[in-house]
């Protein structure tokens, strides 16, 4: 049995190498990981942008630079032109004995509040030096936005493995090689598991590489691999199902598009919806995988939570597999 699985695994590796599929599944996460590493600092620094006049009081400019990214302009016209650009930039200019705040009019309300507050503190003479506040930190260096992006990358890579299986099956169907399986000593189960093993292994290597590039060295690797492997089961089952049930590449493309919905929905609900509505995504294995990954990447995961989430992913994936088993068998026959 193992030998036959290995034969399918080896055959897929050879075909995939010819089609550069391995390169895609492995290299795409790595390239995206590099991108996240480069962009994440800029995304995290969402400090308010302020436009000020170069002729303004130096002390005023230096004060504002402590709290905002300041851009200086020679004339009021230049400054107003800057404010009117597409991004959110506010301005503070001298006006009589006081200051005037200039906005374009479509900025976020929080930004207006922030700028008003800054100028208020300046006019009240509030300084860091006379503070009564104490700041204590947990010493974390990875911002939550980066964790979110890396988590999305993990789910995308898992989905990628499923997508490629779907596409390769549709192509095997087009070339009539899939029916040939029935006249070889390899059983349908061995064919399914062998093909999945290949997609799963390559995707896991891509995920591990991406985590190393993005700097998540101190995470619990057993936990992340456990969640990755279990969530891969679902992606692979769905990939098989999409591949076998699609008559042609157009139908497979449509199914792939539909697959984005539960993934995007799971992420959106977990990140942006209040605790009272989290249950709406409990049916999605991607929700549990995303939740577990967030805790693991944030290094706040405990085995109880991870095992529970993994059990949910596995249970839901297994249910999908059982429901779709007759269809997979029919598709292979």
């Amino acid at each position: 049995m193992l030998k036959k699985l290995f034969i399918v695994f080896k055959k897929d590796s050879l075909i995939a190498r010819r089609d550069a599929m391995v390169t895609y599944i492995m290299v795409i996460p790595l390239v995206l990981a590099l991108g996240i590493t480069l962009f994440a600092p800029g995304l995290n620094d969402t400090s308010v942008k302020l436009a000020m006049l170069r002729s303004d009081d130096v002390e005023h400019i230096e004060y504002m630079e402590q709290f905002a990214r300041v851009e200086l302009f020679d004339t009021l016209d230049d400054l107003e032109n800057r404010v009117q650009k597409r991004d959110d930039t506010a301005a503070i200019v001298p006006s009589g004995r006081s200051y005037e705040i200039i906005l374009q009019g479509n900025e976020l309300e929080t930004m207006e509040d922030y700028v008003v507050l800054l100028n208020t503190f300046y006019e009240l003479g509030a300084t860091k030096e006379e503070t009564t506040a104490q700041l204590l930190t947990f010493g974390r260096t990875v911002p939550p936005l980066k964790t979110m992006l890396v988590n999305v990358l993990i789910l995308m890579t898992i989905m990628l493995a499923g997508m490629l299986i779907a596409i390769s099956i549709v192509e095997e169907k087009a070339e009539n090689t899939i029916n040939a399986i029935n006249v070889t000593p390899i059983s349908q189960t061995e064919f399914v598991v062998g093909k999945s093993l290949f997609g799963g292994t390559v995707a896991m290597i891509g995920i591990i590489g991406a985590l190393l590039i993005t700097g998540y060295l101190g995470i619990n690797w057993f936990m992340i691999i456990l969640v990755g492997v279990t969530s891969m089961i679902l992606s692979l089952v769905v990939g098989f199902l999409q591949g076998l049930s699609s008559e042609d590449i157009m139908e497979a493309a449509g199914s792939v598009k539909l697959m984005f919905l539960p993934i995007a929905g799971s992420i959106a609900v977990y990140e942006f919806v209040s605790d009272n509505w989290q249950w709406t995504m409990y049916w999605s294995p991607f929700y549990w995988a995303y939740k577990a990954n967030t805790a693991i990447l944030s290094m706040t995961a405990d085995w109880g939570t991870v095992l529970f989430s993994t059990a949910m992913v596995f249970g839901l994936s297994f249910a999908v597999y059982l429901i779709s088993l007759p269809k997979i068998r029919k598709g292979l026959s």
């Binding site: 089609d19 550069a20 599929m21 390169t23 895609y24 290299v27 795409i28 991108g35 962009f39 800029g42 995304l43 995290n44 969402t46 990214r69 107003e80 597409r86 991004d87 959110d88 006081s98 005037e100 200039i102 906005l103 374009q104 009019g105 479509n106 900025e107 930004m111 800054l118 208020t120 503190f121 009240l124 509030a126 300084t127 860091k128 009564t132 506040a133 104490q134 700041l135 204590l136 930190t137 947990f138 010493g139 974390r140 911002p143 939550p144 990628l160 596409i167 192509e171 087009a174 008559e247 590449i249 157009m250 139908e251 493309a253 449509g254 598009k257 539909l258 942006f272 405990d302 939570t305």
Partner: protein, 395 residues
């Protein structure tokens, strides 16, 4: 005439397959999500844990005063699970580090106060009142949210201890330092006297409407790029493109008919999402012009890319790479303060901003200029694709 018959034939084939209906179903699902799961107002996701290091009665008085002023309202108590944890906390000024280790696990039930914007009534932040400072540390660490201990000394002077995660920017930390320097009354009085001038009278999109440009751009125009490639590879597998060599019809008509099928699908699915959510607010003439030219341009890009590959597996890397890179400007759309110059060179940047302007019924000039840019770019890509297909017929 040949083009029309090609288009009608392609539409008949599309209507026979599942893909066209999947597109429509997807649009209906997205519309349902927008209408039933996304609220028009922001949900105010900010959380803060607070421990009052002062007599209970004073803490209650402070909370009641905020409620009486309309700045806060009580919500149902919230349960939090505290797991065993081990961490270190560093004082930013002294650099002194203290290690903490908690071996027990427990569940705490916290008084929950919702802070609201007095002018709009919208939820700004949810504050959880913690009973001990130890629990505050554990919650702030586990939930990755800001924790504040509000200390009142015997003379009644209040000071704050902020527990931050560590990745906050220096500018934000500086703000925390000065936040409590002045009395709240003095700050509010001075705040009310600030002069704010706006340069334009502009509308803004609400929370729900703000998602429409994203859905239209990514699920419509950008998907045109992917789907046209799938169509071409399907025809390559079936040998349809090769058959064109022996027909009187020209390649450009065949390629145009493919784009027209995509356009029909995108126009129908985008209308399903846009009209019920936006009502009569957008300029629909501009909307359809922009939708058609952007879909045409991206579908032409898809045609050109498809002309270089034999099948979808071989094209997958390039296709996936282009799709992911076109999604990057979405960050700038959602985080307006993140708007570096390089991000504006991605075609999806004006795509998103253009749809946003249309939804706001705003800057028509911007939309028209970029409509011309997309049209010119689309035509150039289409011509290149035509040359490529003529030369190769199959690959």
């Amino acid at each position: 005439m040949k083009l029309l018959s090609s288009y009608l034939k392609e539409m008949k084939i599309a209507a026979r397959g599942f893909y066209f209906y999947i597109e429509i179903a997807m649009a209906v699902i997205l519309l349902a999500i927008l209408l039933f799961a996304v609220s028009e107002t922001s949900t105010g996701g900010g959380k803060q844990f607070v421990y009052y290091d002062m007599p209970q009665k004073i803490a209650e008085y402070l909370r009641d005063r905020s409620i009486d002023r309309g700045e806060a309202r009580l919500a149902d108590p919230t349960h939090f699970k505290l797991n065993p944890a081990e961490f270190e906390i560093t004082n930013e000024e002294t650099g002194e580090t203290t290690a903490y280790r908690f071996n027990d696990g427990k569940t705490v039930v916290l008084e929950t106060v919702e802070m609201i914007d007095t002018s709009t009534g919208e939820l700004e932040e949810t504050v959880y009142e913690v009973e001990t400072e130890e629990d505050l540390l554990r919650l702030s660490y586990a939930e990755r949210e800001i924790g504040v201990t509000i200390v009142m000394d015997p003379r009644g002077k209040v000071s704050n201890k902020y527990y931050l995660q560590g990745y906050e920017t220096d500018r934000l930390k500086n703000l925390f330092y000065i936040l409590q320097n002045e009395s709240r009354e003095a700050v509010n009085a001075k705040k009310d006297r600030q002069v704010v001038r706006t340069l334009e009278v502009t509308e803004t999109l609400n929370n729900r409407q703000n998602l429409v440009p994203i859905f239209i751009a990514y699920m419509g125009s950008l998907m045109g790029f992917f789907i046209v490639m799938a169509y071409i590879f399907y025809d390559k597998a079936e040998g349809v493109i090769r058959a064109f060599a022996v027909t009187p019809s020209s390649i450009w008509k065949y390629l145009t008919s493919k784009i027209l099928v995509i356009l029909t699908t995108v126009v129908v699915s985008s209308s399903i999402i846009t009209i019920p959510v936006m009502g009569g607010q957008p300029n629909y003439l501009l909307f359809y012009v922009f939708l058609v030219v952007t879909t045409f341009a991206l579908a032409s890009l898809g045609l050109l890319v498809a002309s270089f590959f034999e099948n979808i597996s071989k094209a997958f890397g390039v296709m996936y790479g282009i799709m992911i890179s076109l999604m990057i400007p979405g960050f700038s759309y959602y985080l307006p303060s993140f708007d570096p110059l390089w991000i504006r060179f991605f075609p999806s940047y004006p795509l998103l901003q253009g749809f946003k302007e249309i939804m706001l019924n705003g800057d028509a000039g911007y939309v028209l200029i970029y409509s011309l840019v997309f049209l010119a770019g689309g035509l150039a890509l289409f011509l290149l694709a035509d040359v490529r297909f003529k030369k190769t017929l199959t690959v």
